[in-house]
Symmetry: C2
Subunit: 239 residues, 2 copies
DNA sequence: CGGCATATTGAACCTGGTCAAGCGGAGTGG
DNA sequence: CCACTCCGCTTGACCAGGTTCAATATGCCG
């Protein structure tokens, strides 16, 4: 049976067979070790659009890996407004914000029909002691999350609306490429409001920037479908 | 000998005696375990103002704890401009951004005469396997760094100049309180330029906001010396 | 004392926000 | 099946907070 013929929402997979394997698992893991990891992971979990995986404030017990679809993380600031903190595509891990205080500080919601793998953190910690590579891998994942947030900080504090939107587009393009999907034609899983919220802009500004990009023939947008026409220029804007 | 009479730059201390103890060590550590941790930590390291602890791009091998003074972390964005990513006060850990890629992504520099403890990360990882509490503690520290950065994201993308400056002031006030220093009178260790850079504002705006706060009798500023006069109003602005 | 970095203040400008109107597709009910 | 509404998106006109540019303190270190 060809892997590519399998429905991505199929939940009978084991990690060893999963096509996301190379992305969410530490590369240097032995087959035996993968099996042990496999035992603690709860696979499947198909989710409808708008269904929450967890809410901010709930007790933390697991981190999650996206299998298919896309997930949005967001917090409610103390002034009561939503702040989108991340978009998670297949092969990416989310939920690590909960470790510090033993409760999630973000909420996580499916932006479309999705499926995620749940990884109980206690068991993961135990296993990390037996498999040092795994401990190292998780330290690395968390560190990458830190540096990612810091790049975003820099983007928000120093860059124009056009640069911010271009950066997000290039980020999604690159992540699609990693997933062996098209880097130039794809569907944005999130709304304009989510994009704006994430980038510190209003819906109107996001819309205007996209229109401007289209006029300059940098891309074509139709609703959520995007085709990037001038990667060089977009990359330059994203810098 | 009273601990408070000891010079804070003294480098003959052991972790068990260090007054920062309660802040940078996992709380539930046994005395025996503290001793083992103590063995791997290189204490002391007195630093002059403007001396770098590491530069972005250098190979990562240690994280650091501030013993005294204050440290600034910053990155150079690919467009070549500096982005301040954090200010570190006594008892706080920095350098965890380096774990992900095995090289530091930030540079770290002393903003005044300071001293830091160096914690070799390899040895820390080994020790984490023997002391699960320690592993847990480091996962928590990193997670807190993530949530901290995310709060900052929200601040930069949603709040006005006044709210940003008030938030920074309250943050420093709270951290001083934790250090058993005055929460209302203190010296800002960083320049206006650093504040502005960190908060996504220009020097001029920072200066104007501080002047405005002073006119409204929320605080008194004289150069780097600050006295907070109306904590309630400032806290409200910081929300 | 002189020179250079840091901070403050003022005036003009501009990017992105706000407010408002209109479009178009999806879902609903008569 | 069509009319109606709701919601997400786009576009325009105006406004404002913060940047930019410039001039002037203030202070530090040789």
């Amino acid at each position: 049976m060809s892997m590519d013929s399998v429905c991505p929402h199929n939940n009978t997979f084991h990690c060893g067979d999963c096509r996301m394997n190379a992305l969410c698992l530490p590369l240097a893991l032995q087959t035996k070790e993968v099996e042990r990891l496999d035992e603690i992971i709860q696979r499947g979990k198909p989710l409808q659009k708008d269904h929450h995986i967890y809410h901010a404030g709930e007790e933390f017990d697991s981190v999650f890996a996206v299998r298919s679809g896309s997930i949005k993380s967001y917090t409610i600031s103390n002034s009561g407004q939503e702040q989108v903190t991340g978009f998670h595509l297949p092969g990416e891990i989310f939920g690590m914000d909960g470790i510090g205080q033993n409760r999630y500080t973000n909420s996580a919601v499916a932006m479309e029909t999705s499926s995620v793998c749940e990884i109980p953190f206690n068991r993961l910690q135990e296993l990390s002691i037996a498999i040092p590579t795994l401990q190292r891998h998780f330290f690395q994942l968390m560190s990458l999350e830190i540096t990612g947030d810091q790049q975003l900080l820099s983007l928000l504090s120093k860059n124009t609306a056009e640069e911010r939107v271009a950066t997000l587009l290039m980020s999604i393009s690159n992540r699609n490429f990693r997933l062996k999907l098209s880097a130039t034609r794809f569907r944005l899983p999130m709304s304009r409001a989510d994009i704006g919220n994430y980038l510190g802009l209003t819906v109107e500004t996001v819309s205007r920037v996209l229109s401007r990009f289209q006029k300059q023939a940098l891309l074509k947008v139709d609703k959520k479908e995007v085709e990037l026409l001038n990667l060089d220029k977009l990359r330059e804007l994203a810098n």
